[in-house]
Subunit: 453 residues, 2 copies
């Protein structure tokens, strides 16, 4: 792109447009890569009309070249050397959709070192190595875009970094793992226990053979660390997140929550407090009439509370081939528009420019204050009073005490909804309850999230 | 901003950043202007950290200077000459939040002619004069940004133009008028009729003294024309939209819809068909278990169906001082990032670059195919068969026929849910039903929207 040196001092619109094709090299042609190839090909003209220039896949790296050739046809050169794509002189932007955190880190850093922009949907890579990767990108003046890394079909990173740029964000709460939301929906709708619901999810392709990243909350925590960074302008803090999955969740608690007017969702919550930031993934009760309670199946949603806009919510598919491609290509369109933009004017990788990053502390678990649900298995319904007395003694504010509806094979259960109480205080109370002779099984506690303005 | 002529041929990140303050002139200091002033002042540091440069209000035009001085204090120069602000040499970007379509058009065109960017939340202005305004802006290489014009707190224009840029959008359906959604929620929750619900909305400040723009669907149609243009890359077609408000809606239909498992919402729908685009605002039945049915009170939501991302939804406040300011300032942050960007690389005003605009025809009302709800007041419940027979004869596919639950003072009512049928066919069937001797009152028909993938 040639710029007349005199014109470059003139009003900005006189600068000639960058109209040459944006050349994309892609590593990985699995689920996401295939979707990206297909959507780019199918919507080629529309995408160019939006981007102002064509976006073309010029080389693809794949482990299985025969399978890759079946997908991309004869038009796109293939290689099994990913580093060749990452460093290829004809590539303007690297799309990394191979996954993993080892080789992927090397490819991404190599592409950056060669002055290429990077688009990735790899949340694990960024949650673990994001600080290093973004620093390298800043150094070279290139962009690492990752809309596809969180709640794929939903442009939530863009909403946080750009759409809500005027706001001081107070909290973000998301249903950001489709597998666990599918399992929780099955548990509720069909009265299944966790193991049966997981088996269904696996049979239907909503859960992987090894589902531990999903069901233990790791995947949600990866995404939450990206959301929190963009919401609060803080560094990535995946290692400090409190992470609890749904493997220990029992069907009886899903039913008891329902009885009290709640549904259980695996929520990632990042909330700004005076003393730091809450950063936590856990199954929590959400009011049944709340919009977030109606996010079912494998769908995702993120709710944001900010000072000017108030409550906003963003809903869509959280996984899928073309759903993720939608985000990857949106990032490519953004990159296509970057020509002529000074790096200091790019949308910053984590929402705010580096000099303004907030080194917010992550609050320890014990200091997190929320309402709680307790289920206390008791020897007899009359022991409801002993439960209340114990909670009063432990200074846990109580909002509601009820007996669980009778179920075959399940003994009497005292249900409690508390007011806001620090986790540390609640843990002590649960310990005290557990020590009562009347209490005949493990006391279950879950957080209750009002998700209100 | 100085650029070294040699460096301007180098990699883009070497170009020095535009770091000087973005100077804003604002016309209007009513509800939205006040919110914009307050949020800009309160979140000054955070906004600069996101934008990469400070954003400063340098002059404000107001009709009532004393009241304006009370709001902005001594720090901001005031004038009662709006054109002075629109053409002021120290203003980089004009924020027009005075409203109206007469003088506002003159101010905006003058600002553009003086090479200034414009940010406005004025949907009426853009729906009516947008084609002229955007053409003038394109000619001068400036941007007219208007996120605040549609569903204020929700970054839906950004989602359509950027977040979903990879997609071919199939339809957009929105609850995009808070006043009517508040009224409909009251009608349902409290069993009120329209007039009583409107009176409550007025008493609580959710409806204006003259509510006609809202309750007759005009405001929603203004916004829908902007949504459709951005979704489909078509010109603004406000004049061609089919617009029906909620003034004729009866409480009995809200109750009957509920009985059938639906809620009534005022929907703006833009749907791409082979023969053209549906562009219509009307009260419609939405399944009660659908997320859109749970958008209550004065909240707004927009659902988008696109080929790659699938169904996504965006939810938030549809009005309010700081809620609108959130969008106005987000637009200012975008403008702050435009320095150094060739005009051809700006996000286009209506989603696609001008050369690619689709001159899509708006489908006539008679050709719009949806399912329908019918309520037929009959002399006796036995006449249910005559209703079915008439619809069969008129070739209207019938999915469900039921009798309305009895209500005091309301005679027997036959309720019908049809399959998909062209409005023209349905109108003839309604005419035929109305002519039956058994039919003792006006037949009511409303569209049913599944809002599914």
């Amino acid at each position: 792109m040639y710029r007349d040196p005199v014109e470059s001092l003139e009003p900005l619109h006189r600068v000639p447009a960058a109209t040459r094709t944006l050349r994309v090299g892609m590593i990985g042609i699995g689920t996401v890569g295939r979707g990206t190839f297909r959507v780019l090909a199918r919507n080629q003209a529309d995408i160019a009309a939006r981007a102002g220039r064509a976006i073309e896949l010029v080389i693809v790296a794949a482990r299985n070249l025969a399978r890759a050739a079946d997908i991309v046809g004869p038009g796109v050169p293939l290689t099994d050397d990913a580093m060749h794509v990452a460093t290829h002189p004809d590539v303007d932007v690297l799309v990394e959709v191979a996954g993993g955190t080892g080789a992927a880190r090397d490819w991404v850093l190599a592409a950056i070192a060669h002055g290429k922009h990077v688009v990735t949907a790899n949340k694990a890579l960024l949650a673990v190595h994001g600080t290093e990767i973004f620093a390298a990108a800043r150094e070279k003046g290139v962009v690492v875009a990752y809309e596809g890394a969180v709640a794929v079909s939903i442009p939530i990173i863009k909403a946080l970094r750009e759409g809500l740029a005027a706001n001081r964000i107070e909290w973000v709460a998301g249903i950001i793992n489709g597998t666990t939301n599918f399992i929780l929906s099955k548990m509720r709708d069909e009265g299944l226990d966790f193991a049966a619901a997981l088996a269904q999810a696996q049979a239907l392709g909503y859960a992987e053979a090894d589902p531990s990243f999903d069901i233990e909350g790791i995947d949600a925590a990866h995404k939450l660390s990206l959301l929190a960074a963009n919401a609060f302008g803080m560094p990535l803090r995946f290692d400090d997140a409190q992470v609890e999955g749904i493997t220990a969740l029992q069907g009886v608690d899903v039913a008891c929550a329902e009885q009290l007017g709640y549904r259980i969702k695996l929520l990632g919550v990042a909330r700004r407090q005076a003393a730091g930031v809450e950063l936590r993934v856990q199954p929590a009760l959400v009011p049944a009439d709340h919009l977030m309670a109606h996010v079912n199946g494998s769908m995702n949603a993120v709710m944001v509370k900010s000072d000017a806009a108030g409550l906003t919510m963003y809903y869509g598919a959280g996984a899928g081939s073309e759903q993720t491609a939608s985000a990857v290509i949106a990032d490519l369109v953004d990159v296509a528009r970057l020509d002529g933009v000074a790096a200091a004017q790019h949308v910053p990788h984590l929402g705010v420019h580096a000099h303004a990053t907030n080194a917010l502390a992550v609050l320890p678990r014990a200091a997190v204050v929320t309402a709680h649900y307790l289920r206390v298995p008791v020897a007899a319904v009359s022991h409801i009073q002993a439960v209340s007395a114990c909670l009063a003694e432990q200074r846990v504010p109580v909002r509601q005490v009820a007996l669980a509806a009778e179920k075959p094979g399940v003994g009497p259960q005292v249900l409690v909804l508390t007011g806001p109480v620090a986790q540390g205080t609640l843990d002590l109370a649960v310990h005290a309850l557990q020590a009562q002779a009347d209490v005949v099984g493990p006391v279950v506690s879950l957080r209750v999230e009002a998700l209100e303005g």
